[in-house]
Subunit: 366 residues, 4 copies
Amino acid sequence: MSFNTFGHMFRVTTWGESHGPALGATVDGCPPGIEISEEFIQVFLDRRRPGQSKETTQRKEPDRVKILSGVFEGRSTGTPIQLMIENTDQRSKDYGEIAVQFRPGHADITYHQKYGIRDYRGGGRSSARETAARVAAGGVAQAVLKALVPDLRITGYMVQMGAKHINRARFDRDEILRNPFFIPDAEAVAEWADYLAAIRKNQNSVGAMIELVAEGCPPGLGAPIYAKMDTDLAAAMMSINAVKGVEIGEGMAAADLTGVDNADEIVMGPNGPEFLSNHAGGILGGITTGQPIVLRFSVKPTSSILTPRRSINTRGEEVEVITKGRHDPCVGIRAVPVAEAMMACVILDHLLLDRAQTGGARGQIG
Amino acid sequence: MSFNTFGHMFRVTTWGESHGPALGATVDGCPPGIEISEEFIQVFLDRRRPGQSKETTQRKEPDRVKILSGVFEGRSTGTPIQLMIENTDQRSKDYGEIAVQFRPGHADITYHQKYGIRDYRGGGRSSARETAARVAAGGVAQAVLKALVPDLRITGYMVQMGAKHINRARFDRDEILRNPFFIPDAEAVAEWADYLAAIRKNQNSVGAMIELVAEGCPPGLGAPIYAKMDTDLAAAMMSINAVKGVEIGEGMAAADLTGVDNADEIVMGPNGPEFLSNHAGGILGGITTGQPIVLRFSVKPTSSILTPRRSINTRGEEVEVITKGRHDPCVGIRAVPVAEAMMACVILDHLLLDRAQTGGARGQIG
Amino acid sequence: MSFNTFGHMFRVTTWGESHGPALGATVDGCPPGIEISEEFIQVFLDRRRPGQSKETTQRKEPDRVKILSGVFEGRSTGTPIQLMIENTDQRSKDYGEIAVQFRPGHADITYHQKYGIRDYRGGGRSSARETAARVAAGGVAQAVLKALVPDLRITGYMVQMGAKHINRARFDRDEILRNPFFIPDAEAVAEWADYLAAIRKNQNSVGAMIELVAEGCPPGLGAPIYAKMDTDLAAAMMSINAVKGVEIGEGMAAADLTGVDNADEIVMGPNGPEFLSNHAGGILGGITTGQPIVLRFSVKPTSSILTPRRSINTRGEEVEVITKGRHDPCVGIRAVPVAEAMMACVILDHLLLDRAQTGGARGQIG
Amino acid sequence: MSFNTFGHMFRVTTWGESHGPALGATVDGCPPGIEISEEFIQVFLDRRRPGQSKETTQRKEPDRVKILSGVFEGRSTGTPIQLMIENTDQRSKDYGEIAVQFRPGHADITYHQKYGIRDYRGGGRSSARETAARVAAGGVAQAVLKALVPDLRITGYMVQMGAKHINRARFDRDEILRNPFFIPDAEAVAEWADYLAAIRKNQNSVGAMIELVAEGCPPGLGAPIYAKMDTDLAAAMMSINAVKGVEIGEGMAAADLTGVDNADEIVMGPNGPEFLSNHAGGILGGITTGQPIVLRFSVKPTSSILTPRRSINTRGEEVEVITKGRHDPCVGIRAVPVAEAMMACVILDHLLLDRAQTGGARGQIG
C-alpha cells in the first residue's frame, strides 16, 4: 500500500501538513556510499522556496533541510534517510473561515467527505507545501544519479502560462534559472511578469504548462508492463498538486499523426543506434531508448483566489468564498523544481530496478 | 515490485506473449461472494476481439476466457482468480524478418537492449495482444462493481482518429457499441470508414483520441498523495500500448484557464453538494467528488506499417523495414474496451482501499 | 498488497484450488537469459508428487508442469513465467460431508467465517496441494541460482517425526533422496516406516521437524530492518501449510545460552573471514555471513484423520467428524521439497534485491 | 520494496541510528478520526525506556515522542503520522574501537560486507535502539485498536531467562508491569535478579524466551496464502533484534504430537463456536479463530560483552574484542514491549485488510 509513498526501489514517503511543526520525506532504498549533504539538497530546495519574488506566495519559509538519519561522515549508509523541514511562518489565523468552507476547485470538500476530518490550516496535507518534501527527496536522488550516471541532465522549464507561450526559437537553457518563471526565453520575462501582475490585480490566477527533458539517460530503463518508464513518469507528474494532464513525446498530438510521420527512423552511428527523430519522447514499449526523455504537463490555475465564488460550508449552507492568505497566482511556476525532483526519483528508481533484473547488462547491437 | 502487476488491493498480474500457447491474468484481492461467470467476462472480451471487422487486425482469435480458479459454484471465494485465454491463430512464419530487425517506433529495439533476448513472434510481450488479459480482468472488476456500486457506469468512446473528430452535438451513447469505431456519432461512421480505408491503402496507420467517463462513482475514493485517483488512472492509461498522453477534466487545456474560469462552483442540492461545472473531471485533491470522472488519452499510430522505413538490425546493419503481418491500422479503436477495463479495475481498487482506510464512512455535510 | 504473492523482486503468485481444473504460479521478476525448461522444473515437482509411496496420500497426480509464458527458445525473457499444473485425479465425491462440517484443526471453519463461502472440495485453497505451485516456482528459482550462484546448495531433510529422531552421527546427505522420508539416516528408514504404519493403522497422524541448510550463499544478502534474511525465511516457512514454528541457528535454544557461549568467534582465513562456530545459523543483523544458513521448522500432524472428533457444522449443530479421503499421515514429509523451494525463492529474491541496492559490491576486509 | 517498512495497510517505516540526532517512525494508513496523543504513546515508550533499572542499559534517554504530522486537534486525519524521538545521551566516545573491529555475534561484519560503510556509533542502524520507533508506532496501533476492537488485550511477558523459567502455576498477569523483568510471577523476581547480577558480574549476558497473548481478537483476520496471520506475526517477531525463533500455539512441540492429540475439538456455545483446546494458538489456515493468539519467541544473549572474544578488524587482522559501553545483559527483557507493539501493528494491519477484502462481513454459523 502506498498512500504516501512513491517508487519501487528508491522509495520516498512524504509526511507533514502545511501548518504543522514540520514536514519531510523518509527515503528508503538509497544505495550506500554516496556523497550526500544538506548543502547539496538545499540548492534544489532554494529553487522552489516561497517568498523569493512577487510571482510566488509571500509566505516566508527558509525551508532548511535537516538530515536526521542514513548519512554518516558525509556518505549514505544504505539505511533510511530522514529529511526534515521545519515550518516557521504559519499564519494560521489567516485561514479561519476555511475551517468550515469548501473552496471551489480545492481538495477541501473531498478531504472532508473522505476522512470526516481535515487539517484546514493552509490546506493541511493537500497544500502544495508538501512538494518541499519531494524536492528534498529529489535532491538525494540527484546525488545518487550524479555518482551513477554522471552524464544525466534533467531540465524543467515553463513553456506556457495562460495566454503566454515561450518562443522556442529563442530557447536558451542558461536562462532558465535566471528568471522567476523558469523560462528559457529571456525576452519574454518582462512580458510574462506584466501579464501575471494583471492576473493578480484582477484577483485571479492562471494555469501553466511545463516541459521536462532528461538527456543522457541510458537505454534499457523501464519495467514493462505496469512499471513502464512512461507510466511511472505520468503517475509522478499527475501526483503533483493541480496537475491535470501529462504527455510524452508527441503526446496528445499523436492522435493527429500517421504511422509514416510518427516513425522514428534508426541509423547506425559511431557509438550505436541513432534515431533520426524523437516523436517517441525517448521511450518505446515503456523502456528508454537512450534519446532524450521529453514530457509536458499542465497545471491548473490556483483555486485559492480573491474573487468571490459560490460554494457551501460543512453545515450545507451556501456561501460566497473569498480565499485570503498568501497564494501563488500561478502554482505552475514552482511546479518546475518539483517535477525535476520527481523525474530524478523515477529515473533513479528504474536504474536500481534494472540492476536487480538484468544486473545492468545490455543486449548488444552490432 | 510490480513489473507486471497493477492495483493496490485489487491486484491484476497479466502474463503471456502474442504467440505463446496462452495468455491471461491472475487476479488477487477479489472480494468473496460475487457472482462471476465466463459468460459475463466474455461479453467484454468480445468487444475487443480481433478479426471482427476490416477496421482491425485480421488475426482470428476466439479469445475464449477460462476461469481456472477462485470461483466456486458461480461465486468468487476470495482466492486468486486465474483467467486464461488460449492463443490459436499464431502465424509465426509471418514474422521471420522481425527476429533480427527493429521496427521504427516499436519496442523491438528497447526489449533487445534491456533483456538481450526477446520473443519476437508477433511482438511477444509488447504486443497489444496482452490487453486481452486486461479486458478479462476488467470483466471481473465489472462484476464486483455491479454488486457493490450498481449505479456506476463506465463508458469509453473514440473522439478523434487522425484528422477526423466526432461532432459532440450528435453525441449518442447508444451508438457506441453499434459501430466498429466505438464512436457516439452514427453519422460519422461511414466517413471514418472511408478515411481509414484510405490510410490502410496508403500502407499507413493513424493515431486516435479516446474519452472515458465514469458516472455514478461515489465521492471519497482516492488515496492522496501518491495513490490519488487521477494518478492511478493516468498510470493505468499510460500503461496501455501506444498511449502517449492522458488528461483529466480540462486536462492540457487547464494551462490556458484562469482560476475564475476554472472554479467549479458548488451549491447545495436535495441530495447533497452539487457542482455547477466539472472542469476538475470529477477529482479534487486526488479524491472523487461524486461528479462524473472524465479523462482522455491519445494513442499513437500503429508502428507496424507496410511503408518502408529506415532502421537497423541486431548486427548493426542498416536495413529498410516493411512490416507485413496482420496489424490494426488504428490501434486506438481496440484501446476503447481496454481502457474501460483499466478504469473499472482502478475504481474498484480504490473502493476496496477506501473500505480499509475509512471503513466506507463519509464525512457529513449539512 | 500480497495476499497470494511472496517475494520482493522475484515475485511468485500462486493460484488454484485442490479440485479445480488446474493450479499454478505466476513468476514475475525472473532475470532474462536463464536456461529454463519444463524438464528441469519437473525434477523438483516429482520429489513432492503424491502417490509415490504408502507414506503419502494415495491421490495419483502426474503433476506435469507446463510453461505457458516467459520462456523463449529455452531461455527466460524477463517477462512473467506462467507455470500451470492440471489437476487430474479429483475424487470430489469423497468429500461430501466436508461441505457443511468443520474438521477440527483445519482451515474449514476460518475460511467459512472470513469469506462466507469456501471451495470445500479437497480443502480448496487451503489444501497442501497449493504447495505444488510453490515447488514449480522454486524450480525456476533454482534455475536462476544455478546460473548466478553455481556453488549454492540447498538441502532439506526431516530430523524428527513424532517420537522418532534421526541419529546425527549417521548423517549421510546422499541418503536423503533415496528414502520416502527425506532422512539422512539409512538405518532409520525401516524403523520410521513401521512407526508411521502404526500411526496410520490407529487412524491417526503425526507431526514432524524439518531442517534446511543452504551452503555457498554469499555474504551480504538480506535487507534490514524489515526484509532481513531471517525475517523473510521465517515468513516463507510459516506460510507453508501446518507449520507452527521456525528457528534459525540456535533457534529456541538461544534462550538457554550465555553470550560467551553463543559468540561465533572470527579468524582470518586464506579466503577471508572464517567463523569458528555457527550459532547464528549464517545470519547476523538480518544479513548473510557466508556461513551455511541453518533453519528448522515444525509441522503439525495432519488434521484430517479417521478417528472421530467433536465438531460443529455450518448450521451450528454438534457433529462427530471422521475425515475420509486420501490424506498424508505425516504432512511434514512432503514439506521438505516445498521448504527447499521457498528457500530458493527467498535467497534469489535477496540476491536480486542486493544487486539493486549495492550493485553487488562488497565491503572489503583486509 | 520494504527494506524498512512493515505492514500491508497500516504501514510503519522506521528510520534513525543509535547515535544520530533522532530516530522515529513514519506511520501511513492510520484510519481517520482516532484519538491519538503523545501522552498515550508515551506510556508504551516508558515501558521500554532504558536506564530504568540495573537490569537494562544505563544509557539515559528520556525517549519523549513528538507527533510531527497526521494528528489534528487530537485526532488522526488519515495522513501520515510522523513520530520523532530525539537522541540525547549519545556517548560516542565509548565506541571508538568498534569503528574498525567486528564484535562476534553482532551485525558489525555483515553491515560492513553488505554496504562497505556503517555508522559504527552504538551499532548504528542495527542497534536495539531502533525498537523505540517500533514501540511508538505500536502506540498508534494501540490507539486505533482501542477504538475499533475495544475488547482486544495484548499481553507480553518473559517466560524464561537462561536457566530460569517462570512457574506457570503462579501466573499473575497483574504482576507483569510491576517488575523489571516483565514476568507474571512475583516470587521469581528476586531470584531472577540475583541470577542476572551474577551473569553481569561474570562479564556475560544471557538469552530469553517471551510469550505473547492476544485475547479478544475477532475471527476472520489473516490473508492466506502469503499474508497469513501467523506468517506476518512470525516475520514481525523475527525482525526484532536478536530473535532466533518464533512459534505459534504448540509451536516446535507440534512435531511430537499426533493428530488425535492436536485436534482442537469444537462445540457450539451460547455465542457461537467454542474450542475445547487451543493447540493451534488461535490461528487456523492463517486466519484467526477468535481464540487467544498465543506465540513465543527466543532472544539470543547480547553479543556485546566484556569477556574477550576472538575476532578480526577491517584490515583483516585478528584481534581480541571486549565490548565496553552500556549494554543490556539480557536484551530479551526490553523485547517484551517491542513485541507487544509489533503484535498490535500486525493485528490492526489485518483488521484493515479484512475490511478491504470482506467489508468486515463474517460467514454465519447456525
